[in-house]
């Protein structure tokens, strides 16, 4: 696709012998670095708080290291050509998340979340290994797209049967573990969207009405997908989980655009988004309040009621400045409720500063970029759309929650991928990374040095 690529294509037979480097050594080196960085963070917390290296440091490092090693071995066996970056990024973000949660546990001795999170991380890596080992080709998923969508809808509907937690019906509690089924639904929906759009992209892009320079599709093609989308968003509004509905919406629009190249989709998407936001903001006092908080984060202070969570979050970020207070030395616990989940980024912002926050955002950006790159490299549309969808899930999710806690957009409850407390989220994100590994392996192993006809 590039000049260099054209040159390769023009070159005679010997180019066929060229094999892409596997780069598993790079991956291993980066994994060691990621584990060491996480252990260093863990030790830094202990040193700052008590002046001693915390006793669990060795166990923590060993645990994370073993998880990373198993994942690496699985990749070596079944995905030797995979991109070497996603796995170390996942390990580093997950390790850093554990450090931040452990650090916040010190402030709430009665409520320790890090051990649970470690269990969930193990499950997540287990799922990663399972996916890498079992799923030999991502295209298999295309066959199960309708199974995926049914499963996604069931998962989304399931929490309605359970009592609401903190005003949102998105959790189900089983044996002491709370599970957020909507998280798993994200991946399933991405698979469905990718499969459906891959199958129908010509119909979607070539038919329909043209208005000015925008081309709109016909209702016949649009029907099914819009129905699914409306259904999932409707369910989410019922469950009051606006972050996830925003995420689904964004995912839907991005994939439609990529599949068809119709700018009309963007226009339709924006119009729908504005209408939806307006309607929900009007009808739902819960959402209206969030928008008020976003516009006037210090209104409660001026009213003499003390700072609300968003104001406390802004204070935490501001206290961090450029270099941060250092791990274990901030006071982000002032945020109160949801410090370890929705507001985990505030702890990172306060204790690691803008420098650390930028590093974290760049890690996410790198992960997203690797996903897009894998999508670019594939030839078949399903894989491309799936890679783009999974990468976009990460990007949109980071934007929605990080933008929320820093006051860029209205706050919606959502988990920071890998960092935040929340088992379902960690497991889901490991599944995303596993799929990206699988897709990038396909992309790179298919490379034969010859441009396809």
């Amino acid at each position: 696709m590039t000049k260099a690529g054209t040159t390769v294509a023009a070159a005679p037979a010997p180019a066929r012998a060229v094999r892409l480097p596997r780069r598993r050594g790079v991956e291993l080196a980066l994994l060691v670095l990621a584990v060491l960085l996480s252990v260093y963070g863990y030790c830094a917390v202990g040193l700052a708080r008590t002046g001693t290296v915390p006793p669990g440091a060795v166990g923590y490092g060993a645990g994370l290291g073993v998880l990373a090693l198993f994942a690496h071995i699985a990749v070596r066996i079944r995905a030797p050509y995979a991109d070497p970056l996603p796995l170390p990024i996942g390990v580093l973000l997950n390790g850093l998340g554990l450090v931040l949660i452990y650090r916040l546990d010190l402030e709430t001795p009665g409520d320790r979340a890090a051990p649970t999170q470690l269990v969930w991380s193990t499950l997540g890596v287990g799922l990663f290994i399972g996916v890498v080992l079992v799923l030999r080709d991502h295209r298999v998923l295309q066959r199960y797209s309708y199974v995926c969508v049914v499963a996604a809808l069931v998962l989304l509907l399931l929490p309605i049967l359970f009592p609401a937690v903190n005003g949102a019906r998105i959790w189900i509690r089983i044996a002491g573990f709370s599970i957020q089924p909507g998280e798993f639904a994200k991946v399933l929906l991405a698979v469905f969207f990718a499969a459906y759009l891959a199958a129908n992209r010509s119909a979607l892009s070539h038919t329909g009405r043209r208005l000015w320079r925008l081309q709109f599709p016909t209702g016949r093609v649009l029907g099914p997908i819009l129905t699914i989308w409306l259904l999932s968003v409707g369910v989410l509004v019922l469950e009051r989980d606006l972050g996830t509905s925003l995420l689904f919406f964004g995912l839907f629009v991005v994939l439609l655009y990529v599949a068809t190249g119709r700018t009309g989709w963007i226009a339709v998407g924006l119009v729908l988004a504005v209408l939806g936001a307006f309607a929900v903001g009007r009808l739902e006092p819960h959402v209206g309040g969030r928008i008020e908080d976003w516009l006037h984060p210090f209104a409660t202070i001026e009213a003499g009621l003390g700072p609300n969570q968003l104001a406390q979050s802004l204070f935490a970020f501001a206290a961090g400045g450029v270099l941060g207070t250092g791990l274990g030395l901030g006071h982000s616990v002032l945020i109160g409720f949801a410090t370890k989940s929705d507001f985990i980024l505030a702890t990172a912002g306060e204790e690691l500063g803008l420098a650390g926050l930028a590093a974290i955002v760049l890690l996410y950006a790198l992960l997203v970029e690797r996903g897009y790159r894998a999508g670019l490299a594939l030839r078949e549309p399903f894989g491309r759309l799936l890679a783009v969808g999974l990468a976009s899930i990460v990007a949109l999710q980071v934007f929605v929650i990080a933008g929320g806690v820093t006051g860029l957009i209205p706050l919606t409850g959502m988990a920071m991928p890998f960092l935040a407390q929340g088992g379902s989220s960690v497991v889901t994100n490991w599944a995303i990374v596993a799929l990206l590994i699988r897709i990038s392996d396909s992309a790179r192993s298919q490379y034969d040095g010859v441009e396809a006809p």
Partner: protein, 525 residues
């Protein structure tokens, strides 16, 4: 480029189009160049990728806004608890009397971690003030707060060091000039009666004792619990006003003790040249321009000499003397002693003592005997006695001997403070003579100390509507051991609800014994 270009162009065109668009060299090395089988989806993938990159870039721009641009504003928001948490994170520095700290810190384990404690709180309350997590700080706790809490940059080992490490120094200590024995003697002497004592070392201005009574325990206000709030309400509504620092923040009519100032003005102005010469002063004295007749408590004041009039505290003589000296000279002398000075800090602010400069002769006559609008803090009257004792030189009083880092290394000393000549040395010498006479055989005999030279002046100040209030008993004095070159201590005592006769006797009777105990404590005899 519209989407139509790609769709309608031939395949070769399309590929070339994507080639020029794609500047991604790495894609080739990693994945190889792969053509698109149908529409150029790669382009749309790139657009979507740019969109995601923009989202993440927006996050970083916004994070910079919050963490850098508006950081200071958010840090300074009063609802942000971080400043308070940092302030109480470490133990506060101590205030020392001699080598002994009179304060401490208690680790509560709460969010605002350290709370102030006080040893002998009521005794030192007028000096330390309180350091409350709820109500702020007062007195030394307030004026030395930066040092005690550790924010003072002089505490850092290197300039800007703390800005780099983002740490706070351990709070420094404040060593006071107080004399423990004098302070205790004064507090014991007042014995819960309303009043105050101030004692100064005349040669330097060091404050040796600063006592107010009744007092309170500042430890009650240290924390942030509801008990602190109720203590605050109780102390503020207490009619005895235990939180009022009477030694420096309450002014009283100084009454006859002000005659020291009047005498100094008269001697300096040359109105009086011979202390033993009979003055031309009638008894009773009709205030100029009025029909009001000023009388004395005792007899023998008509035409009495200045020495007799001082020893027996004749109002008529000194009222006339003030009028003879005139407003200008009286004002000059009073202000040289520190009256009307609004800027005195020791290092906390002292309420200004007043001498009215816009008076007619009748008012001047009353002002000259410490009535009308003449008002003084006990500290101000101690300064008057100290100035006489130090040959007419006034040393501005101060309470902080030195400040140290945690561990004792001196940060700043009090330094040498030059005095101010208030009156001629000869005038001071003659005033010393007069004051010694008061204690030897005048109204202040109860302040006499065996083995020491003591000079003093009693006062009984009337106040209230029609002078119906219980008079204030005053005594100002200085003392030196017989072998000393100059007095080592000057004291002013005021007792508000002085019992006994409404006469000079209460100044000598109620206040003088307290002054005596304080002076003995300083002299060690």
């Amino acid at each position: 480029m519209t989407e139509d270009d790609g769709r309608q162009a031939p395949v070769s065109e399309r590929n070339r189009g994507t080639v020029t668009e794609c500047d991604d060299q790495e894609a080739v090395t990693e994945y190889g160049g792969l053509p698109d089988s149908g529409r150029p989806m790669a382009r749309y993938i790139r657009h979507a990728c740019v969109f995601c990159a923009l989202l993440l870039a927006a996050l970083l721009v916004n994070a910079t806004r919050v963490q850098v641009v508006r950081s200071r504003e958010y840090d300074a928001n009063p609802a942000n608890r971080r400043a308070a948490i940092a302030r109480y994170e470490q133990p506060r520095g101590d205030i020392l009397v001699g080598d002994e700290p009179v304060t401490g810190s208690m680790d509560t384990g709460e969010q605002l971690r350290h709370e102030r404690t006080y040893r002998n709180g009521p005794l030192y309350a007028p000096v330390t003030g309180f350091a409350s997590q709820t109500y702020g700080t007062t007195f030394l706790e307030h004026s030395e707060d930066a040092l005690l809490s550790g924010t003072d940059p002089v505490l850092s080992p290197l300039p800007l060091w703390n800005d780099v490490t983002r740490t706070r120094n351990r709070g420094g200590d404040v060593v006071t000039t107080l004399n423990r024995q004098a302070q205790e003697a004064a507090y014991r002497g007042l014995a819960g009666r309303k009043g105050a004592v101030a004692a100064i070392e005349p040669a330097t201005g060091r404050v040796l004792a600063l006592v107010t009574s009744p007092s309170y325990d500042p430890a009650e206000l240290s924390g942030n619990s509801e008990a602190v709030e109720s203590a605050w309400a109780r102390l503020n509504h207490d009619p005895e006003k235990p939180m009022l620092n009477r030694a420096v923040r309450q002014t009283y009519p100084p009454g006859s003790t002000f005659k020291v100032v009047t005498a100094a003005a008269a001697l300096d102005a040359g109105v009086v040249t011979d202390l033993d010469e009979r003055t031309d002063s009638p008894d009773p004295y009709r205030l100029p321009g009025t029909t009001t007749r000023l009388t004395n408590e005792g007899d023998g004041c008509a035409n009495a000499s200045v020495r007799d009039a001082f020893e027996w505290s004749c109002n008529t003589v000194f009222a006339k003397l003030g009028v003879d000296v005139g407003v200008q000279a009286m004002t000059d002398t009073a202000q040289a002693f520190g009256f009307n000075d609004t800027g005195l800090r020791i290092p906390f602010a002292v309420s200004p003592s007043t001498f009215d400069t816009r008076v007619d002769k009748a008012q001047l006559a009353l002002s000259s005997i410490g009535q009308y609008n003449t008002r003084a803090t006990p500290l101000q009257m101690a300064m008057v006695a100290a100035t006489v004792a130090d040959g007419g030189v006034l040393h501005t009083p101060y309470l902080v001997e030195r400040t140290t880092r945690h561990g004792g290394e001196t940060v700043a000393g009090s330094g040498v403070r030059p005095g101010r000549q208030v009156m001629r040395p000869s005038t001071a010498a003659r005033l010393k003579e007069l004051m010694a006479g008061v204690v030897r055989d005048g109204t202040g005999t109860r302040a006499g100390i065996r083995g020491a030279l003591v000079g003093g002046k009693t006062g009984t100040a009337q106040h209230g509507v029609g002078n119906t209030g219980v008079p204030y008993a005053w005594f100002v004095s200085w003392a030196q051991t017989e072998d000393a070159l100059e007095p080592q201590v000057a004291v002013a005592v005021v007792v508000e609800d002085a019992s006994g006769d409404r006469g000079e006797i209460s100044g000598g009777g109620n206040a003088a014994p307290i002054a005596k105990d304080v002076m003995r404590a300083v002299l060690g005899v």
